[in-house]
Amino acid sequence: AQTVTQSQPEMSVQEAETVTLSCTYDTSESNYYLFWYKQPPSRQMILVIRQEAYKQQNATENRFSVNFQKAAKSFSLKISDSQLGDTAMYFCAFMKVFPDTGNQFYFGTGTSLTVIP
């Protein structure tokens, strides 16, 4: 079974500062993807960033980057130059790869991030 753990229920950061959200996971799979999703108060989940397990290079999307440590099964999200619009619940997610059938996600319990003006 796959488990995803987010040990920080709540975090806050000053606007324009940098914050790191932690995530660890447990799996026996070798082929998988990891994701960070953002859920603003409007509820719709939005993809922030994605990491393929077979890639050693950490993914980056503008102000968002990850620190992927496969051996340690760690997948943290760094948000640089935090903006008020970054205030949301952030979920770390694990996906097993099933060819031809899509995907099945396992989510952590989330980290509520508040950006303070």
């Binding site: 995803v4 987010q6 993807y33 994701f35 999703y37 409007s42 509820r43 719709q44 989940m45 939005i46 993809l47 994605r50 393929e52 979920f91 997610a93 996906m95 790869v97 099933f98 060819p99 031809d100 059938t101 899509g102 995907n103 099945q104 996600f105 396992y106 989510f107 952590g108 319990t109 989330g110």
Partner: protein, 114 residues
């Protein structure tokens, strides 16, 4: 292009009743997944359908069922509702082929069981 749409957005039921939730995926997406998000928790996988066939099922009782139609829309049915079924039910779609796995979520259906 329209995103994933779900209906109804909010509903209130009493224990023992039955509920049907509906989802329309993004055009061209063949896979639909359903997730239950209890307040304060992350989404929990319920079902995945691809090309109208069930491809995955989470750890939910048989009171939960779903189906996918030829136009790839989907319904989630929950029978004999319990108080613990109160949650946000999220539908997500994806292309469904062997891809990078991004899920596109709807805004959810908020179910309250009294």
């Amino acid at each position: 292009d329209a995103g994933v749409t779900q209906s109804p957005t909010h509903l209130i039921k009493t224990r023992g009743q039955q509920v049907t939730l509906r989802c329309s995926p993004i055009s061209g997406h063949k896979s639909v997944s359903w997730y239950q998000q209890v307040l304060g928790q992350g989404p929990q996988f319920i079902f995945q359908y691809y090309e109208k066939e069930e491809r995955g099922r989470g750890n939910f009782p048989d009171r939960f069922s779903a189906r996918q139609f030829p136009n790839y829309s989907s319904e989630l049915n929950v029978n004999a509702l319990l108080l613990g079924d109160s949650a946000l039910y999220l539908c997500a779609s994806s292309r469904g082929d062997f891809n990078t796995g991004e899920l596109f979520f709807g805004e959810g259906s908020r179910l309250t069981v009294l």
